[in-house]
Amino acid sequence: MNVSLLLILLLVGAFATYLAGDKLASKVALFFSLAVLGCSIVLLNHFNAGENISFINQWISQPNISFALQADGLSLAMLLLTTALTPLIIFSSFGNEYKNAKSFYALILFMAFAMAGTFLAADGLLYYIFWELSLIPIYFIALLWGNGDAEERKTAVVKFFIYTLAGSLFMLVAFIYLYQRAGSLLIDDLYKLDLTASEQLWIFLAFFLAYAIKIPIIPFHTWQAKVYQKAPTVGTMLLSGIMLKMGLYSVIRWQLPIAPLAAKQYMFVFIALGIAGVIYGSIVALRQKDLKKLLAYSSLAHVGLIAAGAYTLTLDGLRGAVLQMIAHGFVVVGLFFAAEIIFRRYDTRTISEMGGIRSQSPKFTSMFMILVLASVALPSTFNFVGEFTVLYSLSQINIWFAILGGTTIILGAYYMLKMFQHVMLGETNKKIFADVTLNEGLTMVIIVAVLFFFGMYPKPIIDLITPSLENILTQINRN
């Protein structure tokens, strides 16, 4: 049993969903995504038992490209994030009616396929292909099932597509260059490369462009808010929950170990950029009028911190970044789902048109509150574990980084609570807010449970990722 099974299952799932027809599509998709989740848990067990679950096979002889899927702790953690969030996201969409549902759900599974592939690929080209492949489904999901004015949406989505593609193409050039040097794109061969400092810098920058746009790090973030706003919530969840983690994962997996000298030399610049994102994102989020846009900027702030953590090149930084990635994945999905729940009832995403929901649905309020609190990294939630570790690593580099990055806990609380106040509190709203349905409640409860469980007991994840991060760290420090 190896990891390729997962990918096959997802792909088969996508086709099956498409063939199942509009009525059954959502259920088939859920079934397959759950199957994949189960499968990945089984794989995790195999992995923990020390079995080899990699899959490496020659694919193209000239140039020498392998179909290499490798799973270490880091990949598995990200894979689990993907496979756990996918059924959640699919399940969360059960309250909505989508036209042409079969394509919709098939695209979701296809996207999960591409993202899982990105996390597993151990060959540069294969990785790149999955990376690019994940763009297409989200492009269509955002374009066809999105909301708001069609023209505006089109502009936003196309901008997003071209922008991210632009970044990643430079990564491709870097990969080709690396191929010239290494004669192979297998990650182990790339790690072994002995590049000069200037080569490393250029490669680092090429990678950075791709990742900075995907993550996004300011000032490459301008696509984000609009797309999050315009995409259907499912798309936004996929984007923010999993897809932007691809960028962060790639920083750790590809960028840092391949070009460690550059990473070390310009560490401060990139940390500073990440932290600037934290502050900037938080401040911009303060006065957003659209709920989804606000969440988008909050996401910008959070990933800025994660990126800063990753660029510290310390074990704490990397570990904190990974933990925070997973935590943020769950929280942000939950938050966007909350926005969707409100949208289903009020038919608006404008904050000023909300308010007074708490007296109508206390259950929903509590769950939303918990998500908000998790998002501002209240201790005992999973986010705190990540944020604490990241901030700690920043403080080891320079205490000012920690202080500036730490403003997230102040500003984050400010905008999140302000949002919560205007969305949920106040005089009872005149519009009717039906209580959350079982489906919605279940989704929220699962997310909340995950956040609390790993907030108090992150050890399984820490144990899973630490060896591989240590391995990467030795690669970074190899010369």
């Binding site: 901008k159 911009v284 992150p458």
Partner: protein
């Protein structure tokens, strides 16, 4: 056994919380109140057991539950530490907590969300216990933030009122500013000593030979900022008066007796650290003294009964910080305990008044309640005397110790502390006079309904009044049980035992005299002259400045809130759009190029061939002439 009991101690409030959250509505109001109260009472009982244990065994109990967070240079486990300090805190947290829960059963009975209220209260107790018994800084931090959260939830309990929500938000954010400081302190400590565990930290610091005093100072200062946030010291105090928006029991429990003392707890916990950083201690003392004075001055003119108590709380906390800064931890703790008694009593009493008046909090519309509410009056009088520092009430002893310590260190601090005390006496009795004496100034309707509160309310009041009266006994000069009890925690506790000479008696007398002066002024103004504070609009001069709290809120608004919001608008409207325009600009440029290029492709064969020939010539001449 100990582990299980400790878990019972910790988890019963959580259980109460869960029951109230999930089944609160079905249980019915009374029952949910009982569940909430019982869960705290159980904790209290367990605490008593531990108290007994610790007094006998004198050995702290340390429990490690599970590994929590891994940091590269150390592991953080989720552990509990039950030593003298934490058990002392637990005693009044759960003890007063039980009383206030009891009180709330009656007080909140008319509120439709009573089960929610109890849920939050239980949650608060749970987090407070976590804060107190956490074995390392980070577990403490869970509680630290958790109580902040509960404070937020309870201040905004009446969530339909956006002003209350604003207050709640403000409290949370102010606290978070402090929390950042605390985190920074934690980071530095972790970096320096590779541990955050209190016991190992203590051995590490005391055992270390060449300490980096700079970083140690920074750490201590950062931690102090955290304490400032939680314990409402300058400059982070403004949230506490606003926090009175919450139900009165909350004010009593969280914003007077327990949560706001967390800062003092933390500093006492880390006394070994602060002892090594005298500069920071000086800062603490100065900040504490200034806070005491400033808050007291503001308290002089407030008309909202709870606001007066709130500023009084800030002022008293300032005094406690003054003591902390002077290294007299046990004195500060003594004041914490007595303050918990009388301030809780005052708040609950004011709650009783407010309850009777159907929600009225403005003292200008009260008066003459003495007859209608005798028990409330009596208990509040006792508490007021205690806070004013009248012999032999509890406050006298604790406050006096602080002032004596201050006098020993720095006369200026003593003067400030004394002035603050005099003011305290004044505004407390201003409150008493305005509320209970003379004629009732409210509406007829209210007058009609005036009544003494039910026994569920008065019983806690009486207990607390008694405690306020006798609380001083735990640390009498010369014969301090408290100092002895806390001896294992504080290094210098024995050295600093006061000698009780004439000098000290003199100071006591001065303090007592000051208190009487304050009461006297209040008496002459509000009983003799029978004056009632003016309408808001008529307040002028200094009192206007004071009434508006020195305009600190406004200043903060102008200095921080408005700029950040303006910046947000600026970022949103200009920076975002211009970065976006930059990206779009590239697209526009290419598009424009395309448009211009279309003119080049004009459909004329002649031009096409001309380009062909030009290209040919260019290539040929480059290849064969330019070489």
């Amino acid at each position: 056994m100990d582990t299980n009991l400790a878990l019972v101690l910790l988890l019963t409030p959580l259980l109460g919380f869960l029951i109230n959250v999930f089944f609160g509505k079905k249980l019915g109001k009374t029952f949910s109140g009982i569940v909430g109260t019982l869960s705290v009472v159980v904790s209290f009982a367990v605490t008593l057991y531990f108290f007994g244990y610790i007094t006998v065994a004198k050995q702290p109990i340390q429990i490690i539950l599970f590994d929590w967070i891994s940091i590269s240079n150390f592991n953080l486990s989720f552990g509990l530490l039950l030593d003298q300090l934490s058990i002392l805190w637990l005693l009044f947290v759960t003890g007063i907590g039980s009383l206030i829960h009891l009180y709330s059963i009656s007080y909140m009975h008319d509120d439709e969300k009573m089960h929610t209220f109890f849920a939050y209260l239980n949650l608060f107790v749970f987090f407070m216990i976590t804060l107190v018994i956490g074995s390392n800084l980070l577990v403490m931090f869970i509680g630290w933030e958790g109580v902040g959260l509960c404070s937020y939830l309870l201040i905004g309990f009446w969530h339909k009122n956006q002003e209350y929500n604003d207050a709640a938000k403000k409290a949370f954010i102010m606290n978070r500013i402090g929390d950042l400081g605390l985190l920074i302190g934690i980071f530095i400590l972790g970096m320096l000593f590779s541990t955050l565990d209190f016991t190992t930290l203590k051995t590490a610091i005391s055992g270390a030979t060449n300490l980096n005093s700079y970083w140690l100072g920074v750490a201590a200062f950062a931690l102090f900022i955290g304490a400032c946030g939680k314990s409402a010291q300058i400059p982070l105090y403004t949230w506490l008066p606003d926090a009175m928006a919450g139900p009165t029991p909350v004010s009593a429990l969280i914003h007077a007796a327990t949560m706001v003392t967390a800062g003092i707890f933390m500093i006492s916990r880390l006394n070994f650290l602060f002892d090594l950083t005298p500069e920071v201690q000086n800062i603490i003392a100065i900040i504490g003294a200034i806070t005491a004075l400033v808050a007291a001055t503001i308290g002089l003119v407030q008309n909202d009964i709870k606001k007066v108590l709130a500023y009084s709380t800030v002022s008293q906390l300032g005094l406690m910080f003054l003591a902390l800064g002077l290294g007299a931890y046990q004195v500060a703790i003594f004041h914490v305990v007595t303050h918990a008694f009388f301030k809780a009593c005052l708040f609950l009493g004011s709650g009783s008044v407010i309850h009777a008046l159907g929600g009225e909090q403005d003292m200008r519309k009260m008066g003459g309640l003495k007859k209608a509410m005798p028990i409330t009056f009596m208990t509040m009088l006792v508490a007021s005397l205690a806070i004013a520092g009248i012999f032999p009430f509890a406050g006298f002893w604790s406050k006096d110790e602080i002032l004596i310590t201050a006098f020993e260190h720095n006369i200026v601090l003593w003067v400030i502390g004394s002035v603050a005390s005099i003011m305290t006496a004044f505004y407390m009795f201003r409150l008493m006079y305005l509320t209970f004496f003379k004629e009732f100034r409210g509406t007829e309707d209210q007058k009609h309904h005036l009544h003494e509160s039910p026994s569920l309310i008065t019983a806690p009041l009486i207990i607390l009044a008694v405690l306020s009266f006798i609380g001083g006994l735990i640390s009498l000069p010369k014969n301090s049980w408290l100092n002895e009890y806390l001896a294992p925690i504080f290094r210098k506790v024995t050295e600093e035992e006061h000698t009780l000479g004439t000098f000290e008696y003199g100071l006591m007398a001065i303090a007592l005299a000051g208190a009487f002066i304050g009461i006297g002024i209040a008496y002459s103004k509000y009983i003799k002259q029978n004056s009632v504070p003016e309408e808001d609009s008529k307040i002028t001069g200094i009192s206007k400045v004071l009434y508006n709290k020195y305009y600190v809120d406004e200043a903060y608004d102008v200095l921080f809130v408005k700029p950040i919001n303006a910046l947000s608008g600026f970022f949103r409207d200009y920076i975002e759009t211009s970065i976006s325009a930059l990206v779009f600009g590239l697209a526009k440029v290419t598009n424009e190029l395309s448009f211009q290029g279309k003119k080049l492709h004009n459909g004329s064969i002649g031009f096409y061939l001309f380009a062909f020939v030009l290209g040919l010539c260019a290539i040929i001449s480059y290849l064969f002439l330019a070489q």
